[in-house]
Symmetry: C2
C-alpha cells in the first residue's frame, strides 16, 4: 500500500533542511510553518510543501507605533481596595501592576474617563471629590466615608504585548529584543498601517502560501503584576479592546454610553464565569462586528496576493469568536488551534464558514518534555487518544505540531510514533470526513453564553486545569467523543424560541451564580416554564453541580421539582430529610462495579432528596450526589460533578439515555467495556471499534440492531468493520 | 467530713419508697420530682425533700377544650409545591400532613386568612382565582400560568399536643390515653380556665413545693407527617402561636397586618437560620409580651399559694425566652433545662432574673441506656466532664436527673458514680458561686439574633446533631468552659451603639446567608464601617465558615480586607492566586503537633488569601482553611470550621488571644496540656486545675504571673490550689 500523505503541518527551523525533508517524507507532511522564535530558511521554503508564515497585525512594528503612541491599545484596570481610615484617602492605583506593561492614560481626561467607586455602598464618588496626582500616580479622595472601601477604575495604555512579554521574560531575551508595543487599528494611523504593511509584506513573501494570522487586533485580557508574573488572565476577555474611541463609537452604534464599571465589573472584569450584563453583551457584539469588518480587509489583501488566510484561535483573537455572528464575514480560509483533548479538538473541528481547520497537537517540541530520560511518546499517546475520540465524531482537516523540530528528531521512538499517528489520522479522515456518524441522542448544553462559546464552557485560560472547573469540563470532554449531537443553547434563546424540538436532553452544569449554571437567569419565569414544559412533555434534564441555582421562592434549585433534589443552605434544616437510601441497582449505575464509588471530582455538598419519588443513586456522608426523578413524561438526573474519565463518560451516557427515556437504544453501536467505543458511519457502510486506552481491551460490541460479538483490541487499536 | 447535701433533684415513682430514701441520702438530694409518665405516691411526698410537680397549662384538659374547639391552637402550614401543567390546578394542601395532629380551619374564611402563592414569580394569586373544596380538602386554582409552581398557605387547628403525641406513639399508649388537645389562652374561655384551674390545683396539691410549668402556652413548632413521623421541628419557632385573634391583636399593637407568608416564609417557617424579617421580629416581640403577661398571672397564683414557680426550658416555651426583654416580668423563681454539654449548661446557668437554675443531666434513666451489659457510667462521665467545664465558669444552682429511678437503682456502679458527681458539684458550687472567675478576654458573638439567643446559636432542635451545624457549635461548646467572658451581639445593636468598648474579639460564624453569618445584614454600610473601625483601632475579628458573606461590590466576604481571605465563587478565577504557602510556625498553631491536620469539621472550600500580607496557617487541597491578617491596629483570623474537641478549644483560644493582640496574657492561669484547664477565682484565693478527660494527665500549670509548676492529675480529677 502506498504511504498516505498530506494533512500534516511540520514546524521547521534554520540549519535543519535534510532532517526536515526526512520528516516531511516519514510523517507525510504537506506544509511547513515557522514559529514565534524560529524563521524558515529559503531552502526549506522550496521543499514540496505549503509554507505557513506567522503574521502579527498589531504588534512587532515598533518603528511605526513609536511615532503614534497615542494609538497604543488600552485597558481599564481597577486599583486594589483601599479602606478610608479618615475622610481623605490617597489611592496608589497602579499598586500591583507592571509598569513595563501598562502606564496610566493621562492623555484622556481622568475626570471624564475614570471612576472612583465606594465599594462599601457601590456608589460612584463624584469626580469633584477626587484629584489625580500625575507625578506620583495617586488618586486623592476627599470627603470619604471613614471605613468604607474605595477603588479607582482607570485607563491605561498597554506598552508591551503580553504574549511577547511572556516569551521575552521566560526566554530571557533581555535588551536584545525590543518590547512589542500593541497598537489599535481603530485609530487612523494604525488602521492605514495595517493594510499598507500587509500589502507590502505579501509582495515580499512570495513563497508564503498561507498567512497565519496570530491573530488580528486585540489580545485577550492578560495583565501582569509588579513582579512581572501573570496577574489576571481571561482567554475570553474583551476588556483589552477598549478605548475612548471605542466607547464613543459604541455610543453612536448602540445609543448609550458605557461606564468604566461596565469593563471593570467590581474587579471581575466580565470573565466568562460572570453572567454577562446586557452592556457587556452589547460590547462583545459591537467589537466583534468591528473586528470582523477590519479583519476582512486583511483577508481580502491576502486573497488578492493569491495566498490563503489562516487564523490562530487565541492570542489576539478578541472579536473573532468562530461561533459568533460575524465570523463568517471575515472570509477566512482556515483556523488553526491548539488541541488539549477532545473538547478543544471539537472547538476547532466544529468551526463553520472555513475551508479547513487544523489542530496543533501536544506535546510541543520544547525542552520541558523532550529531555534525556523522558519518553515524549507517552504524552503524545495520551493527547492522541483523547483527541482521536473527538476526531471520530468530527475531524479537524489537518494536524500539526509546534516547537523545535530538531529536538523531536533526537527521539527516534517519538518520530516513529508520530508517523503512525499521522497515518492513522489520514485513514480515519478518509472515512469520517463529510459523513454523519450514527447519533443516539441530541443534547443541548444550556448556559448564559449559548452557541457563542461552543465547546468553550467552564474554561478560564485555554486547557489549563483549575480546581473549580474540572468537575464540569469532564462533561464536555466526555461528549466530545460520544455518539451524541451537541448544541449549545443560551437562556435567552430558550426563552425566545423554546427548547428545540429535536433536543433529547438539556444539560445545565456549573457552580451557583456563574454564567454556566445561570445565576439570575433562573429568576426568569419564562425560562423556568419553558424548561419545565420541555421535560414534562418527555424531555430530559441533566443537572450537574448547582443547576438552576438561584435562591428564591423557597428553592435554591429552581428546577428542584424536576431534579428531585435541592441543596440545603441551612434554611430548611428544620424539615426532616428521610430519603437517604440509594437504590441497589439502576440503569444509570449499571456499569459501575459493585462497591465502586463514582468520582464526582470536587463534588457538591448538602444535597437532599425532596421526596420518596426521587431515585437516589448515590448517598454518602449524609448527602445525595446522584439521583434521578420522573417529571411528567420526562425525567431529571442530578450529578454532583463529572470529571473526565472513561467510567464517568459511561456514567454520563447512561444518565443522558435515561433522562431521554431512550434506554432501549443504549445498546445500539455499543461496547460493553467502557474503555472501548463504537462509532458507526451508516452512509459509508462502516463502523469502528476504538480502544481509548494504552492497554489491550476485550469487549462485547453491539451493532445497530443490538446484535453482539466479542472483540479483542490491542492497545490504542481501532478495528474497522463493515456494517 | 460531714457528707454534703442539697442542690440535687431526684425523680421518683410509685412503689419505690425505701430506695428513694436510700438514694436521697446517698446522693444528698433535697428535692423529688415526678415525670410525664410517673406520679409520686403520698409517702414519697412526705420524705425530707421539696416536691416538684409537673404542671401543664394548655393541654391535658380535654374535658374543658372539647366544649370550645374553636379555641384550639393554630398553625399556618404550606402545601407542597404543585406544578400547573395547565390553567386549572387542584392542590391537595393537606398532602403530607398528619390528620390526627392538624385539621384545616374552615371556621375562619379561607379567602381572608389563606394565601395561594405562585412560587415561580413569588406573587400572590388573587383570591378570586381559587376556591376551597371543603369536602375533599382541595384548593382549586383557575387561570394558573402553565408550568408555574403554586402553594397554598392555610390555617389549621392543632388537635394533638406534639410532645404528648410523641410519647403516645413511641410508648404505644393506644386508645387508653386520650390525645391532649392544646388550647389557646388568648381565647376567652381558655384564658379564664387556665387561672381557675391552677387555683384549684394549688389547693388540691398542698404537698407540692414547686410547680414545674411544662411549660406555658404554645409548643415550639413540631409538625408530623402523614406517617406520624416528625416532619418539621424548630425548637425556636413561634409559628405555633398564631391565630386570627393574634393577628388582629398584633395589628392593633404594631399598626400593620401580618400575612400568611409572614409565617410560612416560603416553607422555611422563619427557622432560626433565616435572617429574621422585621415582621417576624415584631411578632416575636408581640407574642413574648403577651406570654409574659399571661404567665405572670399564673406565677402570681402559685406564689399566692405559697409555692415556687419553676419553668421547664423547652416544649411549650414560645414567648418565654429567658434572654428576651419580657422574661423578667414573668416573675419566675427558677428555670430547669436539659444539659447536653457545656453550651446548654451555660444557656441555663446564665439565665437572669430567677432565684435559681437547675440542669437536668444525662443520661435519662431510660431503657435505651440502662440495659444489661451497658455501662451508663460512661455516658454520665462524658456528660459531666463537658458540663463541668461550664460549671467552673458559671454554675447552675442545682442538678437533677430524669426517668425511672428504679432502673438506675439496678446499676450500683452508676449509683456510686452519681454520688461522687453530686459531691463534686456541691464542692465546686461552694467555691465558684457568686464570685467572678479570672477572665482573659471578652468575646462578642455577632449574629442576627444577638442576646435573645444567648448560647443558642446554630441549633435546630435542642442538642441534636446536624451535619450542617457541628462545625459551628464547637465554638460555643469551647467557649462555654473557657476563661473568657462571652456576650451575644446583634447586628442592629452594633449599628446602633457600635461594638462595646470592653469587647476584645468579635466572632462571626456560620454558613452564608444564615442568621448566624448574617446574610443581607452585610449589605449595610453602617455595619461594615462599625466593625472595620473596631478592628482597625485594635479589636479582633474571628470569622468561621462564611463570615460576613454577602456577594456584592466585588467581594463575597464583606470583611475580606480584615480577614485576609475571601471565597472563590468562580468570578475571580481569572485572578492568579499566588499565596498558598502555610507558615511553618505561628502563635495560633503552636499547640498542634507537627504534621497534625486541624479538624475543620465540614470545612469550607475555595478560600484563598488576598495578598502576601495574609498569614496562611493551613493550606491543603488548593484552599486556605486557616489564616490571620493584620488590619490597622487589630487583627482578623479565619477558620474554616471548629467542631468541638479539646484540640480545637485550644486552637480557638489561641486564635482569640492572637486576634486580641493579647498573646502576652496567654500563659496566665494556663495549662500547657490542652486536656487540662485552669480556672482561677481571685476573690476566693483559689484556683482549680481540671482534667477534662477520662484519662490521667500531666501538665505544666502557669499561675496569674505565668509562674509554672508540673501537675499530675488522675482521670477527671480537679485539684484545688490556693493562690
Amino acid at each position: 500500500m502506498a504511504k498516505s500523505k498530506g494533512r500534516l503541518t511540520l514546524p521547521s527551523e534554520r540549519n535543519f533542511l535534510a532532517q526536515t525533508q526526512e520528516l516531511l517524507d516519514r510523517w507525510g507532511a504537506d506544509a511547513i510553518r515557522d514559529s514565534d522564535g524560529t524563521k524558515l530558511e529559503e531552502a526549506v521554503k522550496d521543499l514540496d510543501a505549503s509554507i505557513y508564515t506567522t503574521y502579527f497585525v498589531a504588534r512587532n512594528h515598533n518603528d511605526f507605533i513609536k511615532d503614534h503612541m497615542e494609538e497604543c491599545q488600552q485597558l481599564y484596570l481597577m486599583s486594589p481596595f483601599h479602606t478610608a481610615s479618615q475622610e481623605s484617602l490617597a489611592i496608589d492605583f497602579m499598586q500591583g501592576y507592571y509598569r513595563e506593561q501598562v502606564v496610566p492614560d493621562y492623555h484622556h481626561d481622568p475626570k471624564e474617563w475614570w471612576e472612583v467607586i465606594n465599594r462599601t455602598t457601590g456608589q460612584v464618588v463624584p469626580s469633584s471629590q477626587w484629584q489625580v496626582d500625575q507625578e506620583r500616580d495617586l488618586v486623592l479622595v476627599e470627603g470619604a466615608e471613614p471605613f468604607h472601601e474605595y477603588t479607582v477604575s482607570f485607563l491605561v495604555y498597554k506598552i508591551w504585548d503580553p504574549t511577547q512579554m511572556y516569551n521575552h521574560i521566560t526566554n530571557n531575551w533581555g535588551d536584545s529584543v525590543a518590547h512589542d508595543i500593541p497598537f489599535d487599528v481603530r485609530q487612523p494611523h494604525s488602521n492605514r498601517f495595517m493594510s499598507d504593511y500587509l500589502r507590502r509584506w505579501c509582495q515580499e513573501n512570495p513563497k508564503t502560501d498561507v498567512v497565519r494570522f496570530t491573530t488580528f487586533f486585540y489580545h485577550f485580557t492578560l495583565v501582569f503584576n509588579d513582579k512581572a508574573k501573570e496577574k489576571f488572565v481571561d482567554w475570553f476577555g474583551y476588556g483589552a479592546s477598549v478605548s475612548p474611541a471605542a466607547i464613543l463609537a459604541f455610543q453612536e452604534a448602540k445609543g448609550y454610553r458605557l461606564r468604566p464599571e461596565d469593563f471593570v465589573d467590581q474587579g471581575y472584569y466580565n470573565t466568562a464565569f460572570r453572567v454577562p450584563s446586557k452592556a457587556y453583551l452589547d460590547y462583545v457584539d459591537f467589537q466583534s462586528h468591528f473586528v470582523a469588518q477590519e479583519a476582512k480587509k486583511l483577508v481580502d489583501i491576502v486573497h488578492e496576493a493569491g495566498k490563503e488566510a489562516m487564523m490562530f484561535l487565541g492570542d489576539n483573537w478578541i472579536g473573532t469568536e468562530p461561533y459568533g455572528p460575524y465570523f463568517k464575514d471575515i472570509g477566512l480560509d482556515a483556523v488553526v488551534g491548539s488541541v488539549g483533548g477532545g473538547a478543544t479538538l471539537r472547538m476547532i473541528a466544529d468551526i463553520p464558514h472555513v475551508k479547513y481547520t487544523e489542530g496543533r497537537f501536544l506535546p510541543y517540541f520544547f525542552p520541558d518534555t523532550f529531555y534525556e530520560g523522558n519518553d515524549p511518546t507517552i504524552e503524545a499517546n495520551e493527547n492522541w487518544l483523547t483527541a482521536r475520540r473527538a476526531i471520530m465524531r468530527k475531524p479537524v482537516d489537518r494536524i500539526g505540531y509546534g516547537g523545535y523540530l530538531s529536538l523531536a528528531y533526537k527521539f527516534p521512538k517519538f518520530v516513529s510514533y508520530i508517523e503512525e499517528v499521522a497515518d492513522e489520522f489520514r485513514d480515519i479522515y478518509a472515512i469520517v470526513k463529510d459523513t454523519k456518524p450514527y447519533v443516539g441522542l441530541k443534547v443541548g448544553i444550556l448556559n448564559a453564553w449559548g452557541a457563542l462559546r461552543t465547546w468553550q464552557t467552564h474554561m478560564v485560560a485555554h486547557a489549563l486545569h483549575y480546581k473549580q472547573i474540572y468537575s464540569y469540563l469532564g462533561i464536555l470532554e466526555a461528549l466530545s467523543g460520544a455518539a451524541v449531537e451537541v448544541i449549545f443553547l443560551s437562556f435567552d434563546q430558550v426563552i425566545a424560541d423554546g427548547v428545540p424540538e429535536d433536543v433529547d436532553v438539556l444539560i445545565n452544569a456549573g457552580d451557583a451564580g456563574t454564567a454556566f449554571s445561570g445565576g439570575q437567569h433562573w429568576a426568569r419565569p419564562e425560562l423556568l416554564s419553558a424548561i419545565r414544559r420541555f421535560v414534562y412533555q418527555g424531555g430530559g434534564l441533566v443537572g450537574v453541580g448547582e443547576p438552576s441555582a438561584y435562591l428564591q421562592n423557597g428553592r435554591f434549585f429552581q428546577l428542584a421539582e424536576i431534579l428531585g433534589v435541592d441543596k440545603e443552605l441551612g434554611f430548611s434544616l428544620s424539615t426532616d430529610k428521610y430519603f437517604t437510601q440509594a437504590q441497589g441497582s439502576h440503569f444509570i449505575t449499571a456499569d459501575l462495579e459493585a462497591g465502586q464509588d463514582p468520582d464526582f471530582g470536587e463534588s457538591m455538598h448538602n444535597l437532599y432528596a425532596l421526596s420518596e419519588e426521587t431515585e437516589i443513586l448515590e448517598y454518602s456522608n449524609g448527602e445525595v450526589h446522584m439521583a434521578a426523578h420522573d417529571y411528567g413524561q420526562g425525567r431529571g438526573v442530578y450529578l454532583a460533578g463529572l470529571p473526565y474519565s472513561i467510567d464517568n463518560t459511561r456514567l454520563l451516557m447512561r444518565a443522558l439515555y435515561y433522562a431521554a427515556h431512550k434506554e432501549a437504544d443504549f445498546n445500539k453501536w455499543h461496547s460493553s467495556n467502557p474503555a472501548v467505543e463504537v462509532h458507526a458511519y451508516p452512509a459509508k457502510g462502516k463502523y469502528a471499534v476504538v480502544n481509548n486506552t494504552a492497554e489491550p481491551q476485550v469487549t462485547t460490541v453491539y451493532d445497530g440492531q443490538g446484535i453482539s460479538q466479542e472483540v479483542s483490541l490491542a492497545a490504542s487499536e481501532i478495528q474497522w468493520e463493515e456494517i
